[in-house]
Point group: C2
Chain length 300, copies 2
Amino acid sequence: MFAVTILGNNSAVPAFGRHPTAQVVTFNGVNYLVDCGEGTQIQMINYKIRRSKISHIFISHLHGDHYFGLIGLINSFGLLSHQQELHVFGPAGLKEIIELQLKVAETTLPFNLYLHTITGAATLVDNEKITIKCFPTNHRIECYGFVFEEKKMPRKLIPEKAIEFEIPQSFYERLRLGEDYTKKDGSIVKNEWLTEEGPHCRKYAFCADTKYDESIIPHIANADMIYHETTYLDNLKDRAESRFHSTTKQAALIAKKAKVKKLLIGHFSSKYDTLEEFELEAKEVFPNTRLALEGTCFNI
Amino acid sequence: MFAVTILGNNSAVPAFGRHPTAQVVTFNGVNYLVDCGEGTQIQMINYKIRRSKISHIFISHLHGDHYFGLIGLINSFGLLSHQQELHVFGPAGLKEIIELQLKVAETTLPFNLYLHTITGAATLVDNEKITIKCFPTNHRIECYGFVFEEKKMPRKLIPEKAIEFEIPQSFYERLRLGEDYTKKDGSIVKNEWLTEEGPHCRKYAFCADTKYDESIIPHIANADMIYHETTYLDNLKDRAESRFHSTTKQAALIAKKAKVKKLLIGHFSSKYDTLEEFELEAKEVFPNTRLALEGTCFNI
Protein backbone atom coordinates (compact mmCIF):
# COMPACT_ATOMS: atom_id res chain seq x y z
CA MET A 1 0.00 0.00 0.00
CA PHE A 2 1.20 3.46 -0.94
CA ALA A 3 -1.46 6.02 -0.07
CA VAL A 4 -2.10 9.39 1.51
CA THR A 5 -4.84 10.16 4.05
CA ILE A 6 -5.90 13.76 4.54
CA LEU A 7 -6.34 14.87 8.16
CA GLY A 8 -6.59 18.62 7.62
CA ASN A 9 -7.22 20.71 4.50
CA ASN A 10 -7.79 24.23 5.77
CA SER A 11 -5.46 27.19 5.92
CA ALA A 12 -4.65 29.49 8.84
CA VAL A 13 -7.63 29.15 11.21
CA PRO A 14 -10.00 26.19 11.67
CA ALA A 15 -13.37 26.83 10.00
CA PHE A 16 -16.48 25.04 8.71
CA GLY A 17 -15.36 21.79 10.33
CA ARG A 18 -12.08 21.91 8.42
CA HIS A 19 -8.77 21.50 10.23
CA PRO A 20 -5.26 22.83 9.64
CA THR A 21 -2.80 20.96 7.44
CA ALA A 22 -1.82 17.38 8.20
CA GLN A 23 -1.64 14.27 6.08
CA VAL A 24 -0.35 10.74 6.51
CA VAL A 25 1.59 8.94 3.80
CA THR A 26 1.36 5.20 4.33
CA PHE A 27 3.96 3.04 2.64
CA ASN A 28 5.03 -0.51 3.36
CA GLY A 29 3.32 -0.55 6.77
CA VAL A 30 4.85 2.73 7.95
CA ASN A 31 2.92 5.99 8.52
CA TYR A 32 4.83 9.13 7.58
CA LEU A 33 3.20 12.28 8.93
CA VAL A 34 3.43 15.43 6.82
CA ASP A 35 2.68 18.63 8.73
CA CYS A 36 0.88 18.59 12.03
CA GLY A 37 -1.54 21.46 12.63
CA GLU A 38 -3.35 21.85 15.94
CA GLY A 39 -5.65 18.92 16.65
CA THR A 40 -3.84 16.45 14.38
CA GLN A 41 -3.68 13.83 17.13
CA ILE A 42 -7.46 14.09 17.54
CA GLN A 43 -7.95 13.76 13.77
CA MET A 44 -5.76 10.63 13.91
CA ILE A 45 -8.12 9.15 16.48
CA ASN A 46 -11.14 10.17 14.37
CA TYR A 47 -9.74 8.53 11.26
CA LYS A 48 -8.14 5.53 12.95
CA ILE A 49 -4.56 6.29 11.94
CA ARG A 50 -2.25 4.06 13.95
CA ARG A 51 -0.03 6.46 15.82
CA SER A 52 2.29 3.63 16.84
CA LYS A 53 3.26 3.23 13.17
CA ILE A 54 4.68 6.75 12.98
CA SER A 55 8.46 7.02 13.05
CA HIS A 56 9.00 10.07 10.83
CA ILE A 57 7.34 13.49 10.81
CA PHE A 58 8.00 16.17 8.21
CA ILE A 59 7.16 19.81 8.96
CA SER A 60 7.06 22.10 5.92
CA HIS A 61 7.36 25.45 7.70
CA LEU A 62 6.76 27.23 10.97
CA HIS A 63 3.41 28.87 10.35
CA GLY A 64 1.25 27.57 13.16
CA ASP A 65 -1.36 25.88 10.99
CA HIS A 66 1.38 23.45 9.92
CA TYR A 67 3.00 22.53 13.23
CA PHE A 68 1.10 23.64 16.37
CA GLY A 69 -0.08 20.05 16.90
CA LEU A 70 3.43 18.60 16.90
CA ILE A 71 4.35 19.14 20.55
CA GLY A 72 1.02 17.63 21.63
CA LEU A 73 1.60 14.57 19.49
CA ILE A 74 5.16 14.09 20.78
CA ASN A 75 3.90 14.54 24.33
CA SER A 76 1.14 11.98 23.81
CA PHE A 77 3.65 9.52 22.33
CA GLY A 78 5.53 9.88 25.60
CA LEU A 79 2.43 9.37 27.77
CA LEU A 80 1.36 6.40 25.65
CA SER A 81 4.82 4.81 26.13
CA HIS A 82 5.76 4.93 22.45
CA GLN A 83 9.04 2.97 22.23
CA GLN A 84 10.16 3.44 18.66
CA GLU A 85 12.56 6.26 17.87
CA LEU A 86 10.99 9.32 16.28
CA HIS A 87 12.61 11.48 13.60
CA VAL A 88 11.22 14.96 13.03
CA PHE A 89 12.41 17.06 10.09
CA GLY A 90 11.69 20.78 9.92
CA PRO A 91 13.19 24.22 9.34
CA ALA A 92 15.49 25.99 11.78
CA GLY A 93 13.67 27.03 14.95
CA LEU A 94 11.55 23.91 15.33
CA LYS A 95 14.16 22.07 17.40
CA GLU A 96 14.45 24.96 19.85
CA ILE A 97 10.66 25.27 20.24
CA ILE A 98 10.12 21.57 20.93
CA GLU A 99 13.06 21.29 23.30
CA LEU A 100 11.94 24.35 25.26
CA GLN A 101 8.42 22.97 25.67
CA LEU A 102 9.73 19.60 26.84
CA LYS A 103 12.08 21.34 29.27
CA VAL A 104 9.50 23.53 31.03
CA ALA A 105 7.27 20.49 31.63
CA GLU A 106 10.26 18.49 32.88
CA THR A 107 9.29 15.82 30.36
CA THR A 108 11.49 12.76 29.85
CA LEU A 109 10.40 10.87 26.75
CA PRO A 110 10.54 7.06 26.81
CA PHE A 111 11.92 7.02 23.23
CA ASN A 112 14.72 8.72 21.33
CA LEU A 113 13.58 11.91 19.64
CA TYR A 114 15.72 13.22 16.79
CA LEU A 115 14.96 16.76 15.66
CA HIS A 116 16.61 17.29 12.28
CA THR A 117 16.97 20.78 10.82
CA ILE A 118 16.35 21.13 7.08
CA THR A 119 18.50 23.76 5.38
CA GLY A 120 17.86 23.19 1.67
CA ALA A 121 17.01 20.53 -0.91
CA ALA A 122 18.19 17.21 0.51
CA THR A 123 17.54 13.50 0.86
CA LEU A 124 16.01 12.94 4.30
CA VAL A 125 15.26 9.22 4.24
CA ASP A 126 16.89 6.64 2.01
CA ASN A 127 16.31 2.96 2.68
CA GLU A 128 15.84 -0.09 0.52
CA LYS A 129 12.15 0.67 -0.03
CA ILE A 130 11.75 4.44 -0.26
CA THR A 131 13.52 7.73 -0.76
CA ILE A 132 12.11 10.88 0.85
CA LYS A 133 13.51 14.21 -0.28
CA CYS A 134 12.70 17.83 0.47
CA PHE A 135 12.80 20.84 -1.82
CA PRO A 136 12.32 24.56 -1.11
CA THR A 137 9.06 26.25 -2.05
CA ASN A 138 8.36 29.95 -2.44
CA HIS A 139 6.54 31.12 0.67
CA ARG A 140 6.66 34.08 3.07
CA ILE A 141 9.00 32.19 5.39
CA GLU A 142 11.38 29.28 4.78
CA CYS A 143 9.26 26.38 3.53
CA TYR A 144 9.80 22.91 2.08
CA GLY A 145 7.87 20.38 0.03
CA PHE A 146 8.48 16.65 0.34
CA VAL A 147 8.77 13.93 -2.31
CA PHE A 148 8.13 10.26 -1.51
CA GLU A 149 9.46 7.89 -4.14
CA GLU A 150 9.59 4.12 -4.20
CA LYS A 151 13.04 2.72 -4.72
CA LYS A 152 13.77 1.54 -8.23
CA MET A 153 12.74 -2.10 -8.35
CA PRO A 154 15.02 -4.76 -9.94
CA ARG A 155 14.24 -5.82 -13.53
CA LYS A 156 12.06 -8.87 -13.97
CA LEU A 157 13.81 -12.02 -15.26
CA ILE A 158 12.20 -13.92 -18.19
CA PRO A 159 13.07 -17.52 -17.13
CA GLU A 160 12.60 -19.19 -20.53
CA LYS A 161 14.94 -16.69 -22.14
CA ALA A 162 17.58 -17.20 -19.46
CA ILE A 163 17.45 -20.96 -20.12
CA GLU A 164 17.46 -20.48 -23.90
CA PHE A 165 20.64 -18.36 -23.69
CA GLU A 166 22.19 -20.79 -21.14
CA ILE A 167 22.79 -18.17 -18.46
CA PRO A 168 24.05 -19.75 -15.20
CA GLN A 169 21.62 -19.30 -12.32
CA SER A 170 24.38 -17.70 -10.25
CA PHE A 171 24.21 -14.72 -12.66
CA TYR A 172 20.42 -14.18 -12.36
CA GLU A 173 20.73 -11.59 -9.60
CA ARG A 174 23.08 -9.52 -11.74
CA LEU A 175 20.64 -9.78 -14.63
CA ARG A 176 17.94 -8.33 -12.38
CA LEU A 177 20.26 -5.41 -11.68
CA GLY A 178 20.55 -4.74 -15.43
CA GLU A 179 23.91 -6.29 -16.39
CA ASP A 180 24.59 -7.89 -19.76
CA TYR A 181 26.05 -11.44 -19.78
CA THR A 182 29.35 -12.21 -21.54
CA LYS A 183 29.69 -15.80 -22.78
CA LYS A 184 32.94 -17.74 -22.69
CA ASP A 185 33.38 -17.10 -26.46
CA GLY A 186 33.25 -13.36 -25.71
CA SER A 187 29.84 -12.81 -27.29
CA ILE A 188 27.44 -10.62 -25.32
CA VAL A 189 23.86 -11.48 -24.37
CA LYS A 190 22.03 -8.19 -23.92
CA ASN A 191 20.16 -7.73 -20.66
CA GLU A 192 17.07 -6.48 -22.50
CA TRP A 193 16.74 -9.90 -24.24
CA LEU A 194 16.56 -11.62 -20.83
CA THR A 195 14.63 -9.26 -18.55
CA GLU A 196 11.72 -6.86 -18.53
CA GLU A 197 11.34 -3.48 -16.83
CA GLY A 198 10.54 -3.90 -13.10
CA PRO A 199 7.32 -2.51 -11.65
CA HIS A 200 6.74 1.23 -11.95
CA CYS A 201 8.23 3.27 -9.07
CA ARG A 202 5.44 5.33 -7.62
CA LYS A 203 6.04 8.93 -6.57
CA TYR A 204 4.07 11.38 -4.43
CA ALA A 205 4.92 15.03 -3.81
CA PHE A 206 3.54 17.33 -1.11
CA CYS A 207 4.15 20.87 -2.36
CA ALA A 208 3.51 22.65 0.98
CA ASP A 209 2.58 26.32 0.98
CA THR A 210 3.89 28.18 -2.05
CA LYS A 211 3.12 30.89 -4.49
CA TYR A 212 3.06 29.89 -8.17
CA ASP A 213 6.64 28.93 -8.91
CA GLU A 214 7.76 26.68 -11.74
CA SER A 215 11.08 26.08 -10.05
CA ILE A 216 9.47 23.26 -8.05
CA ILE A 217 8.64 21.33 -11.25
CA PRO A 218 11.94 19.38 -11.54
CA HIS A 219 11.32 17.96 -8.05
CA ILE A 220 7.77 16.81 -8.67
CA ALA A 221 7.91 15.97 -12.39
CA ASN A 222 6.09 12.84 -13.52
CA ALA A 223 4.76 12.09 -10.04
CA ASP A 224 1.79 9.74 -9.79
CA MET A 225 0.14 12.24 -7.50
CA ILE A 226 0.94 15.64 -6.05
CA TYR A 227 -0.73 17.75 -3.41
CA HIS A 228 -0.60 21.46 -4.23
CA GLU A 229 -2.16 24.21 -2.16
CA THR A 230 -5.05 26.28 -3.53
CA THR A 231 -5.69 28.82 -0.81
CA TYR A 232 -7.80 30.96 -3.14
CA LEU A 233 -10.05 30.73 -6.16
CA ASP A 234 -8.65 32.19 -9.34
CA ASN A 235 -10.27 35.63 -9.01
CA LEU A 236 -8.01 36.33 -5.99
CA LYS A 237 -4.76 35.84 -7.90
CA ASP A 238 -3.38 39.15 -6.63
CA ARG A 239 -4.10 38.28 -3.02
CA ALA A 240 -2.50 34.86 -3.53
CA GLU A 241 0.60 36.51 -4.98
CA SER A 242 0.96 39.01 -2.14
CA ARG A 243 0.47 36.33 0.53
CA PHE A 244 2.74 33.77 -1.13
CA HIS A 245 -0.12 31.38 -1.83
CA SER A 246 -1.60 29.82 -4.97
CA THR A 247 -4.95 29.74 -6.73
CA THR A 248 -6.80 26.77 -8.22
CA LYS A 249 -5.64 27.44 -11.75
CA GLN A 250 -2.06 28.04 -10.71
CA ALA A 251 -1.93 24.70 -8.88
CA ALA A 252 -3.49 22.98 -11.88
CA LEU A 253 -0.98 24.61 -14.23
CA ILE A 254 1.91 23.33 -12.12
CA ALA A 255 0.40 19.82 -12.24
CA LYS A 256 0.02 20.06 -16.02
CA LYS A 257 3.53 21.39 -16.65
CA ALA A 258 5.03 18.81 -14.29
CA LYS A 259 3.19 16.07 -16.22
CA VAL A 260 1.88 14.45 -13.05
CA LYS A 261 -0.97 11.95 -13.17
CA LYS A 262 -3.22 13.26 -10.42
CA LEU A 263 -3.57 16.49 -8.44
CA LEU A 264 -4.93 16.87 -4.92
CA ILE A 265 -5.84 20.40 -3.83
CA GLY A 266 -6.22 21.78 -0.32
CA HIS A 267 -5.22 24.48 2.18
CA PHE A 268 -8.48 26.28 1.50
CA SER A 269 -8.91 29.77 2.90
CA SER A 270 -11.35 30.10 5.80
CA LYS A 271 -13.30 32.63 3.77
CA TYR A 272 -14.85 29.81 1.73
CA ASP A 273 -17.58 27.73 3.31
CA THR A 274 -17.99 25.43 0.30
CA LEU A 275 -15.37 23.88 -1.95
CA GLU A 276 -17.09 22.92 -5.20
CA GLU A 277 -15.70 25.91 -7.06
CA PHE A 278 -12.15 24.87 -6.23
CA GLU A 279 -12.58 21.54 -7.98
CA LEU A 280 -14.39 23.04 -10.98
CA GLU A 281 -11.77 25.73 -11.57
CA ALA A 282 -8.77 23.43 -11.21
CA LYS A 283 -10.32 20.82 -13.52
CA GLU A 284 -10.59 23.41 -16.30
CA VAL A 285 -6.79 23.33 -16.47
CA PHE A 286 -6.01 19.85 -15.12
CA PRO A 287 -8.94 17.41 -15.33
CA ASN A 288 -7.62 14.74 -12.94
CA THR A 289 -7.96 16.95 -9.87
CA ARG A 290 -9.49 15.89 -6.55
CA LEU A 291 -10.37 17.89 -3.45
CA ALA A 292 -8.20 16.77 -0.53
CA LEU A 293 -11.22 16.09 1.67
CA GLU A 294 -10.51 15.24 5.31
CA GLY A 295 -10.69 11.57 6.14
CA THR A 296 -10.21 10.56 2.50
CA CYS A 297 -7.47 8.09 1.60
CA PHE A 298 -6.00 8.40 -1.91
CA ASN A 299 -4.02 5.55 -3.42
CA ILE A 300 -0.84 6.65 -5.14
CA MET B 1 -24.41 36.29 34.31
CA PHE B 2 -21.62 34.56 36.21
CA ALA B 3 -21.08 31.07 34.84
CA VAL B 4 -18.47 28.57 33.73
CA THR B 5 -18.55 26.56 30.49
CA ILE B 6 -16.46 23.41 30.27
CA LEU B 7 -14.53 22.96 27.00
CA GLY B 8 -12.25 20.10 28.04
CA ASN B 9 -12.36 17.68 30.97
CA ASN B 10 -9.72 15.08 30.21
CA SER B 11 -6.20 14.70 31.49
CA ALA B 12 -2.97 14.18 29.56
CA VAL B 13 -4.04 12.75 26.19
CA PRO B 14 -7.36 13.20 24.34
CA ALA B 15 -9.56 10.09 24.65
CA PHE B 16 -13.16 8.91 24.33
CA GLY B 17 -14.15 12.20 22.73
CA ARG B 18 -12.87 14.11 25.75
CA HIS B 19 -10.49 17.04 25.33
CA PRO B 20 -7.69 18.49 27.46
CA THR B 21 -8.42 21.13 30.08
CA ALA B 22 -10.07 24.42 29.17
CA GLN B 23 -12.99 26.32 30.60
CA VAL B 24 -14.53 29.74 30.13
CA VAL B 25 -15.70 31.88 33.03
CA THR B 26 -18.27 34.38 31.82
CA PHE B 27 -18.90 37.41 33.98
CA ASN B 28 -20.49 40.74 33.14
CA GLY B 29 -20.21 40.15 29.37
CA VAL B 30 -16.53 39.18 29.47
CA ASN B 31 -15.15 35.68 28.77
CA TYR B 32 -12.16 34.69 30.90
CA LEU B 33 -10.40 31.60 29.58
CA VAL B 34 -8.86 29.24 32.12
CA ASP B 35 -6.31 26.83 30.65
CA CYS B 36 -6.12 26.15 26.95
CA GLY B 37 -5.31 22.58 25.95
CA GLU B 38 -4.81 21.61 22.33
CA GLY B 39 -7.97 22.12 20.29
CA THR B 40 -9.52 24.70 22.62
CA GLN B 41 -10.19 27.08 19.75
CA ILE B 42 -12.09 24.32 17.95
CA GLN B 43 -14.07 23.56 21.11
CA MET B 44 -14.93 27.27 21.29
CA ILE B 45 -16.37 27.07 17.80
CA ASN B 46 -18.27 23.88 18.71
CA TYR B 47 -19.80 25.46 21.79
CA LYS B 48 -20.33 28.95 20.36
CA ILE B 49 -18.04 30.77 22.79
CA ARG B 50 -17.47 34.28 21.48
CA ARG B 51 -13.71 34.51 21.07
CA SER B 52 -13.95 38.28 20.56
CA LYS B 53 -15.09 38.60 24.21
CA ILE B 54 -11.83 37.15 25.55
CA SER B 55 -9.38 39.64 26.98
CA HIS B 56 -7.77 37.54 29.73
CA ILE B 57 -6.35 34.01 29.69
CA PHE B 58 -5.08 32.18 32.77
CA ILE B 59 -2.72 29.21 32.39
CA SER B 60 -2.35 27.05 35.50
CA HIS B 61 0.87 25.25 34.58
CA LEU B 62 3.05 24.17 31.68
CA HIS B 63 1.98 20.58 31.22
CA GLY B 64 0.88 20.42 27.62
CA ASP B 65 -2.71 19.38 28.27
CA HIS B 66 -3.23 22.79 29.90
CA TYR B 67 -1.63 25.14 27.38
CA PHE B 68 -0.73 23.59 23.99
CA GLY B 69 -3.77 25.32 22.42
CA LEU B 70 -2.71 28.79 23.54
CA ILE B 71 -0.36 29.69 20.69
CA GLY B 72 -2.98 28.58 18.15
CA LEU B 73 -5.63 30.72 19.80
CA ILE B 74 -3.34 33.78 19.93
CA ASN B 75 -2.39 33.20 16.30
CA SER B 76 -6.04 32.94 15.27
CA PHE B 77 -6.87 36.13 17.15
CA GLY B 78 -4.21 37.76 14.97
CA LEU B 79 -5.56 36.31 11.73
CA LEU B 80 -9.12 37.23 12.71
CA SER B 81 -8.00 40.85 13.33
CA HIS B 82 -8.80 40.82 17.07
CA GLN B 83 -8.32 44.44 18.21
CA GLN B 84 -8.72 44.27 21.96
CA GLU B 85 -5.61 43.88 24.08
CA LEU B 86 -5.00 40.39 25.46
CA HIS B 87 -3.57 39.59 28.88
CA VAL B 88 -2.15 36.12 29.45
CA PHE B 89 -1.11 35.00 32.94
CA GLY B 90 1.02 31.92 33.45
CA PRO B 91 4.11 30.49 35.15
CA ALA B 92 7.66 31.32 34.14
CA GLY B 93 8.56 29.88 30.74
CA LEU B 94 5.25 30.60 29.03
CA LYS B 95 6.30 34.06 27.85
CA GLU B 96 9.47 32.69 26.25
CA ILE B 97 7.59 29.88 24.47
CA ILE B 98 4.92 32.15 23.00
CA GLU B 99 7.39 34.84 21.96
CA LEU B 100 9.65 32.27 20.27
CA GLN B 101 6.75 30.82 18.30
CA LEU B 102 5.60 34.26 17.16
CA LYS B 103 9.16 35.14 16.16
CA VAL B 104 9.88 32.11 13.95
CA ALA B 105 6.65 32.74 12.03
CA GLU B 106 7.50 36.44 11.70
CA THR B 107 4.05 37.16 13.14
CA THR B 108 2.99 40.72 13.93
CA LEU B 109 -0.20 40.74 15.99
CA PRO B 110 -2.77 43.47 15.35
CA PHE B 111 -3.36 43.84 19.12
CA ASN B 112 -1.24 44.32 22.22
CA LEU B 113 -0.34 41.02 23.86
CA TYR B 114 0.75 41.14 27.50
CA LEU B 115 2.37 37.98 28.84
CA HIS B 116 2.40 38.19 32.64
CA THR B 117 4.49 35.79 34.69
CA ILE B 118 2.93 34.46 37.89
CA THR B 119 5.40 33.88 40.72
CA GLY B 120 3.17 33.18 43.74
CA ALA B 121 -0.23 33.96 45.27
CA ALA B 122 -1.31 37.33 43.87
CA THR B 123 -4.18 39.47 42.66
CA LEU B 124 -4.14 39.37 38.88
CA VAL B 125 -7.22 41.41 37.98
CA ASP B 126 -8.94 43.94 40.20
CA ASN B 127 -11.60 46.19 38.72
CA GLU B 128 -14.88 47.60 39.98
CA LYS B 129 -16.74 44.39 39.17
CA ILE B 130 -14.41 41.48 39.85
CA THR B 131 -11.24 40.35 41.56
CA ILE B 132 -9.23 37.47 40.13
CA LYS B 133 -6.50 35.95 42.25
CA CYS B 134 -4.13 33.03 41.89
CA PHE B 135 -2.84 30.62 44.51
CA PRO B 136 -0.23 27.85 44.33
CA THR B 137 -1.35 24.21 44.19
CA ASN B 138 0.68 21.11 44.92
CA HIS B 139 1.64 19.56 41.58
CA ARG B 140 4.72 18.02 39.98
CA ILE B 141 5.69 21.36 38.47
CA GLU B 142 4.81 24.94 39.45
CA CYS B 143 1.03 25.23 39.25
CA TYR B 144 -1.67 27.76 40.16
CA GLY B 145 -5.38 27.80 40.84
CA PHE B 146 -7.54 30.84 40.16
CA VAL B 147 -10.31 32.47 42.21
CA PHE B 148 -12.95 34.68 40.60
CA GLU B 149 -14.86 36.80 43.08
CA GLU B 150 -17.47 39.46 42.55
CA LYS B 151 -16.62 42.79 44.12
CA LYS B 152 -18.41 43.49 47.39
CA MET B 153 -21.64 45.24 46.46
CA PRO B 154 -22.82 48.40 48.31
CA ARG B 155 -25.45 47.96 51.05
CA LYS B 156 -29.06 48.50 50.05
CA LEU B 157 -30.72 51.67 51.37
CA ILE B 158 -34.17 51.35 53.04
CA PRO B 159 -35.73 54.65 51.82
CA GLU B 160 -38.54 54.88 54.42
CA LYS B 161 -36.01 54.46 57.23
CA ALA B 162 -33.73 57.17 55.80
CA ILE B 163 -36.69 59.54 55.71
CA GLU B 164 -37.85 58.55 59.22
CA PHE B 165 -34.39 59.31 60.65
CA GLU B 166 -34.15 62.53 58.59
CA ILE B 167 -30.91 61.60 56.86
CA PRO B 168 -29.96 64.18 54.20
CA GLN B 169 -29.96 62.72 50.67
CA SER B 170 -26.36 63.87 50.23
CA PHE B 171 -25.35 61.24 52.81
CA TYR B 172 -27.14 58.31 51.10
CA GLU B 173 -24.03 57.20 49.15
CA ARG B 174 -22.02 56.99 52.39
CA LEU B 175 -24.84 54.95 53.97
CA ARG B 176 -24.53 52.45 51.09
CA LEU B 177 -20.83 52.16 51.88
CA GLY B 178 -21.71 51.26 55.48
CA GLU B 179 -21.14 54.47 57.47
CA ASP B 180 -23.19 55.45 60.50
CA TYR B 181 -24.80 58.93 60.51
CA THR B 182 -24.04 61.42 63.29
CA LYS B 183 -26.84 63.91 63.95
CA LYS B 184 -26.21 67.57 64.86
CA ASP B 185 -27.00 66.71 68.53
CA GLY B 186 -24.17 64.16 68.45
CA SER B 187 -26.44 61.14 68.56
CA ILE B 188 -25.59 58.31 66.20
CA VAL B 189 -27.94 56.62 63.73
CA LYS B 190 -26.58 53.14 63.17
CA ASN B 191 -26.09 52.11 59.55
CA GLU B 192 -27.79 48.78 60.16
CA TRP B 193 -31.07 50.64 61.00
CA LEU B 194 -31.01 52.28 57.55
CA THR B 195 -29.62 49.72 55.14
CA GLU B 196 -29.68 46.02 54.35
CA GLU B 197 -26.85 43.73 53.27
CA GLY B 198 -26.14 44.13 49.53
CA PRO B 199 -26.46 41.16 47.20
CA HIS B 200 -24.25 38.13 47.92
CA CYS B 201 -20.80 38.25 46.26
CA ARG B 202 -20.40 35.11 44.23
CA LYS B 203 -17.10 33.26 44.15
CA TYR B 204 -15.72 30.55 41.87
CA ALA B 205 -12.40 28.73 42.26
CA PHE B 206 -10.55 26.64 39.69
CA CYS B 207 -8.17 24.41 41.64
CA ALA B 208 -6.00 23.32 38.69
CA ASP B 209 -3.96 20.13 38.95
CA THR B 210 -3.06 19.25 42.51
CA LYS B 211 -2.56 16.42 44.90
CA TYR B 212 -4.75 16.43 48.03
CA ASP B 213 -3.57 19.50 49.92
CA GLU B 214 -5.60 21.35 52.55
CA SER B 215 -3.38 24.40 52.22
CA ILE B 216 -5.55 25.54 49.28
CA ILE B 217 -8.64 25.73 51.52
CA PRO B 218 -8.17 29.34 52.73
CA HIS B 219 -8.17 30.48 49.09
CA ILE B 220 -11.32 28.68 48.06
CA ALA B 221 -13.30 28.71 51.34
CA ASN B 222 -17.05 29.39 51.12
CA ALA B 223 -17.00 29.57 47.32
CA ASP B 224 -20.31 29.12 45.55
CA MET B 225 -18.63 26.65 43.27
CA ILE B 226 -15.19 25.12 42.84
CA TYR B 227 -13.67 22.94 40.16
CA HIS B 228 -11.30 20.34 41.58
CA GLU B 229 -9.48 17.70 39.58
CA THR B 230 -10.28 14.00 40.05
CA THR B 231 -7.82 12.27 37.77
CA TYR B 232 -8.46 8.90 39.43
CA LEU B 233 -11.13 6.95 41.24
CA ASP B 234 -10.51 6.39 44.92
CA ASN B 235 -8.90 2.94 44.58
CA LEU B 236 -5.92 4.57 42.85
CA LYS B 237 -5.08 6.87 45.75
CA ASP B 238 -1.43 5.79 45.70
CA ARG B 239 -1.06 6.49 42.01
CA ALA B 240 -2.73 9.89 42.51
CA GLU B 241 -0.29 10.68 45.31
CA SER B 242 2.79 9.71 43.30
CA ARG B 243 1.66 11.66 40.24
CA PHE B 244 0.55 14.75 42.18
CA HIS B 245 -3.10 14.26 41.29
CA SER B 246 -6.30 13.74 43.31
CA THR B 247 -9.03 11.14 43.58
CA THR B 248 -12.79 11.62 43.70
CA LYS B 249 -13.02 11.37 47.48
CA GLN B 250 -10.06 13.66 48.01
CA ALA B 251 -11.61 16.37 45.85
CA ALA B 252 -14.92 15.94 47.67
CA LEU B 253 -13.21 16.19 51.05
CA ILE B 254 -11.57 19.45 50.06
CA ALA B 255 -14.98 20.80 48.97
CA LYS B 256 -16.51 19.71 52.26
CA LYS B 257 -13.73 21.15 54.42
CA ALA B 258 -13.74 24.41 52.45
CA LYS B 259 -17.53 24.67 52.98
CA VAL B 260 -18.21 25.39 49.34
CA LYS B 261 -21.71 25.09 47.89
CA LYS B 262 -21.04 23.06 44.76
CA LEU B 263 -18.21 20.93 43.39
CA LEU B 264 -17.37 20.32 39.73
CA ILE B 265 -15.01 17.44 39.02
CA GLY B 266 -12.89 16.82 35.92
CA HIS B 267 -9.42 16.09 34.50
CA PHE B 268 -10.36 12.44 34.16
CA SER B 269 -7.62 9.99 33.33
CA SER B 270 -7.68 8.55 29.81
CA LYS B 271 -7.84 5.08 31.33
CA TYR B 272 -11.55 5.57 32.09
CA ASP B 273 -14.02 5.33 29.24
CA THR B 274 -17.07 6.11 31.40
CA LEU B 275 -17.49 8.66 34.19
CA GLU B 276 -20.45 7.53 36.30
CA GLU B 277 -18.22 6.13 39.04
CA PHE B 278 -16.53 9.50 39.49
CA GLU B 279 -19.81 11.18 40.34
CA LEU B 280 -21.00 8.37 42.62
CA GLU B 281 -17.78 8.26 44.62
CA ALA B 282 -17.48 12.02 45.07
CA LYS B 283 -21.15 12.31 46.11
CA GLU B 284 -20.56 9.88 48.95
CA VAL B 285 -18.43 12.58 50.57
CA PHE B 286 -19.90 15.75 49.06
CA PRO B 287 -23.43 15.33 47.69
CA ASN B 288 -23.60 18.51 45.59
CA THR B 289 -21.05 17.29 43.06
CA ARG B 290 -21.39 17.50 39.28
CA LEU B 291 -19.30 16.03 36.48
CA ALA B 292 -17.68 18.84 34.47
CA LEU B 293 -19.10 17.56 31.19
CA GLU B 294 -17.86 19.26 28.04
CA GLY B 295 -20.22 21.82 26.58
CA THR B 296 -22.07 22.23 29.88
CA CYS B 297 -22.53 25.71 31.34
CA PHE B 298 -22.82 25.91 35.14
CA ASN B 299 -24.25 29.01 36.80
CA ILE B 300 -22.25 30.21 39.76
